[in-house]
């Protein structure tokens, strides 16, 4: 046997033996910082309060509203049908989203809309969830403050305003009545329905073979 073969045997052995001592690799699923940055710069994640109101009125089955504020605030007022995921309880001590929330958020075809009082906290929750490879996530622009201004107390547009503004105003008036006629004190007792959700299947595994 030639000397090269001894060297090759030693090399393969070393590679195989070395593999046994590789440090434990953390298998947290995260997207790369570049991808996250790209997604964060993309404003398409924001939806307006009018869009949200319309989805609620139409009782869109693919909609999940998530209130990112504290449980106290949630009990006081929230949007109808919203579930509460306080930002402080979103991740566990390892910085990974708790599995009980993932079961709600990671569903094929479900659109998740986060909201808070303004859109700052909701946006933070959006970033955390996006980083952990959840998708179809949105943020309600302006949060509940804008909700109150636009849906609960719609301002009548000026006489000279374009016709679209009046159409929007009419919609908001209708929505206002739907959501309880201007009163902000209504308490929603509709909490996220406990329908058993099916976990999303593993995505983008390439099909094929011979």
């Amino acid at each position: 046997m030639n000397k090269t073969y001894y060297f090759l045997i030693a090399l393969t052995f070393a590679l195989g033996f070395g593999a046994l001592f590789l440090p434990e690799k953390s298998h947290t699923k995260e997207i790369t910082p570049e991808q996250l940055f790209y997604k964060m710069n993309n404003p398409s994640r924001f939806v307006t309060t009018d869009q949200v109101a319309r989805l609620i009125i139409e009782s869109d089955p693919a909609l999940l509203l998530v209130d990112a504020r504290s449980p106290d605030q949630y009990r006081l007022f929230s949007l109808p049908g919203a579930m509460n995921i306080p930002m402080k309880e979103l991740v566990d001590s390892n910085g990974i989203i708790c599995s009980k929330w993932v079961d709600y958020l990671d569903i094929e075809g479900l659109n998740v809309i986060f909201f808070s009082n303004s859109d700052v906290i909701a946006d933070q929750v959006w970033v955390i969830c996006t980083r952990h490879e959840l998708d179809n996530l949105y943020v309600m622009r302006g949060g509940l403050n804008t909700w109150a201004e636009t849906i609960l107390k719609p301002q009548k547009p000026f006489e000279s305003s374009p016709i679209e503004e009046f159409a929007l105003y009419d919609f908001r008036r209708g929505a206002c009545q739907y959501f309880g006629g201007g009163s902000i004190s209504i308490k929603s007792d509709v909490v996220a329905d406990p329908v058993p959700r099916i976990r999303r299947k593993k995505k983008t595994v390439v099909a094929g073979g011979c």
Binding site: F13, L22, V206
Partner: protein, 196 residues
């Protein structure tokens, strides 16, 4: 990073160009290693030429250990790789039939293509046989559907089947391969050499 195509790093349009290039490399390596000769291939079963075993096992070993390291370097997302689903009955039936076909025909599909490319008439007939066989299978499929879907285990890996880690399996595979190389080199010395 990888797999590049399913992660969107490479455009789908390039997919087929890449397929062609990888195929060229595949064909070149197979032919250059001598896989276009059926008597050289069949030698593995009679001990006069172990080129199949050497090339095949080395390739499997290199790719396997490569994937282990790629996974650790986070260069590839191992969960997005296609894992052949296991249908126990089907793979046993298929494996035995393929072994029989190998010893009778002297080629396997990929190598018969390389044989055709350099003008081996037996490889042409083998390829024609492949067409025939797949046609027979597809047409008779309703009769053999039970076998085809028998013993489904899903896309399991050897790690799940044997309950060992990826690294340990790779290590054991390397040990077995090196051992096999040593044994066949002894066998080859004792078997009468056949010039092909």
């Amino acid at each position: 990073m990888g797999p590049l195509i399913s992660q969107g790093y490479i455009n789908q349009e390039w997919n087929f160009v890449i397929a062609l290039l990888l195929g060229v490399a595949f064909g070149y390596i197979l032919e250059a290693s001598g896989f276009s000769s059926s008597r050289k291939l069949a030698g593995v079963f009679y001990g006069y030429d172990f080129v199949v075993l050497r090339v095949f096992m080395t390739a499997a070993m290199v790719a396997m250990i490569g994937l282990v390291y790629f996974d650790h370097m986070n260069w590839i997302d191992i969960s997005k790789i296609f894992i052949l689903p296991t249908f126990l009955t089907s793979v046993i039936v298929g494996g035995v039939i393929m072994g029989l076909g190998f010893i009778m025909g002297g080629y396997c599909p990929g190598t018969s293509f390389t044989g055709v490319a350099i003008g081996k008439l037996d490889a042409v007939f083998f390829t024609a046989g492949l067409y025939l066989g797949i046609f027979i299978f597809s047409t008779a499929f309703p009769l053999i559907e039970g076998i085809y879907y028998g013993g489904e285990l899903g896309p399991v890996t050897v790690m799940e089947t044997f309950g060992i880690s990826r690294e340990l399996f790779a290590f054991l595979f390397i040990m077995a391969t090196l051992m096999a190389f040593f044994v066949v080199s002894l066998v080859q010395k004792r078997v009468k050499k056949i010039e092909v």
